[in-house]
């Protein structure tokens, strides 16, 4: 199976499965957007749990259906808990999603990412164009946690990271690219307001983790989770908003209101294009 085999039209069925499965999704994440991460997990139909202390983290990973590791902050104890939960998830064969927030900006973040990548097999790596490029070892500019600069080769860059790690790679930007070692697709969904709110990148990681926790196929989870997220971003803009505050509230509503009845149909096909 490759990401290029996934049919966008099957999204409705995936959404239904996530809502029926109610997967327990454990996130070890930064304190900036931890509430957003927990809420978006719940709003897709998952059960969020944020166990991130050494000991508790490994025990919870023994119960979870998927684990998200987000390195937006890297305090000592939490990084150890990330290793513990990631290894336990690998042992059990459940999906682990990596969101290497801000990698490419400081040596410390690079060291944490390298250490996690060397010890944990990640099912999916999700980052913005800059973060994915930094992990792939090509020139990147990450300003704090923001991707700046041009990434014309992002499909090839993301695919090279997928090849070297064996992970599915989601590179999020104006369009989102989802790739594995065998091919790449470009998803056209989303809204510019998503960039005006802190935490939407983290919430995309949580969305992919939640879909991974419910769906049998991880490639489908990565593609459909990313697509569903973008569609929710569009619907949030269909509701009335006066700025990023109301848009953020709308987005939470929109996620909860994406159901198998409200997404679907052949028009989804034009959202997905095979690019490699």
């Amino acid at each position: 199976m490759s990401v290029t085999d996934i049919d966008a039209v099957d999204l409705a069925e995936s959404v239904r499965t996530v809502r029926e499965t109610e997967p327990l999704v454990q996130s070890l994440t930064n304190t900036v957007t931890i509430n957003d991460v927990a809420n978006v997990t719940l709003h897709w139909g998952g059960l969020p749990v944020m166990a991130d202390s050494f000991g508790d983290a490994g025990e919870m990973a023994d119960l979870a259906r998927a684990v998200l590791i987000n390195t937006g902050q890297v305090p000592d104890g939490r990084v150890e808990a990330m290793h513990e939960a990631g290894k336990k998830a690998n042992e059990r064969g459940i999906p682990v999603v990596f969101d290497p927030v801000g990698v490419g900006s400081t040596p410390s973040r690079e060291a944490v990412a390298e250490s996690l990548l060397s010890e944990i097999d990640f099912t999916v790596i999700k980052g913005n164009y800059g973060e994915i490029s930094a992990l792939a070892g090509v020139e990147a500019e990450v300003k704090g946690v923001e991707s700046v600069g041009d990434y014309e080769e992002i499909e090839r860059t993301a695919r090279s990271l997928a090849e070297s790690t064996g992970s599915i790679v989601v590179a999020s930007g104006v369009d989102d690219v989802v790739t594995d070692a065998d091919g790449a697709v470009r998803l056209t969904a989303g809204h510019e307001m998503l960039g005006e709110v802190v935490g939407t990148g983290c919430m995309l990681g949580a969305t992919v983790a939640t879909f991974c926790g419910a769906l049998e196929d991880d490639h489908e989870a990565a593609v459909h989770g990313t697509l569903a997220f973008g569609l929710a971003g569009e619907r949030a803009a269909d509701l009335e908003y006066a700025g990023p505050g109301t848009y953020r509230t709308n987005f939470r509503d929109a996620v909860a209101n994406v159901t198998s009845d409200t997404v679907g149909g052949p028009s989804l096909e034009e959202r997905l294009e095979q690019v490699l």
Copy 2:
């Protein structure tokens, strides 16, 4: 005094007292919902302070009118600060509320709860049906931090925990049960949307702590705080909402708008039923 002596109709007077007293309420809590906990404390009329580092925690407990301990996350340093603040509160004779989030799911959480219960006399223990059952030592199913399964005997279970600990016990679920060693009441208030938002359980704990910090009688604080919280949940649904995002915003407004003028009257009596 027992929870069975409390009159629901006196709620208006309790709300007035909380708003006039402006109690300083210290919370040591998880980072997921810490902002919700602080805001709900403020919106009831309390002054929230989230001192949770060893040293500062004990010093702040020397000034506070009530302390909330919520173990939704259990990093080492914070657990020590919980012990420090809890003991200081006991020393001073001010109320301490315990919200054992996720107990029953992992051995680490059970160990932390046991250690806190063995060293601190809690005025109130607030948990969902699963957490209260787990603490009471009866069969429970806690999935992450969610209570799943049936709890037909929850009144008896909660009362047995009240008997063994000497605490007032609030078991929150579709209906809320408030009990002590001498009896139990069932409160009928709330709204299903409260379950669609992360952190409402934590906010209930903060509400009870705030009421405890202002009212003379802890039984009244537990019953009236829990009832006021449920009523606010209903009023949030009276306002327009399109999903959990807007409902959450409404709920904050609703809490701030519950005043002695807007709650009360004999209709409150049907909200409270003695069940044991």
Copy 3:
């Protein structure tokens, strides 16, 4: 240059500069309002980054345009990271803003503040009347993190702190006072609802840090950042709201909507009065 040289009418130009510069602003802050701090930084046009672990903190301060240090919580590791980031900022000559949340309430907070003040040259110190008075060594009453009591001499108190530290001092309250060793101005802007929401004080600190990161003159950044914040608070109240929940959402929108086109004009002059 002194704060008394700043013209309120130049605010529009400052807002434009902040939005065009997009400064990278690093905050080391409490977990209660960290999401608010990050969002408000973004909504003014800055790029927020919340690197607060030792190592990563110093490295990020090597890239940032301004650093905010907020001691609303004081866990051991984070305080060390504050020292590291603050010293690096001093080394590089970039602005550092200090928000000593809750100083005056516990000995631990006083010790942390003294230690930071002894090792770091702060460009701006921002606190409520109680916190500024406590730092200045005059009688103050801080209840948790709230300023209570009367502060009739706040201009002189704030100026004495500015004299002893060499920092610009922003004392926030009903009116805001901005002072340095050479004079003081009083700003009349804001709305009472700002006091009904947790975190507005922290967001003011983040606003000043963001303006400092973009503007050449720190006195202008302190005065214009504080004034812009108050104006956003007023505009949030012009939008419909039913309580602190909707007001908080409005405030985020209002900040994003303060642009060089929507603020300005001679009416701004009456907002600023030289008082010392």
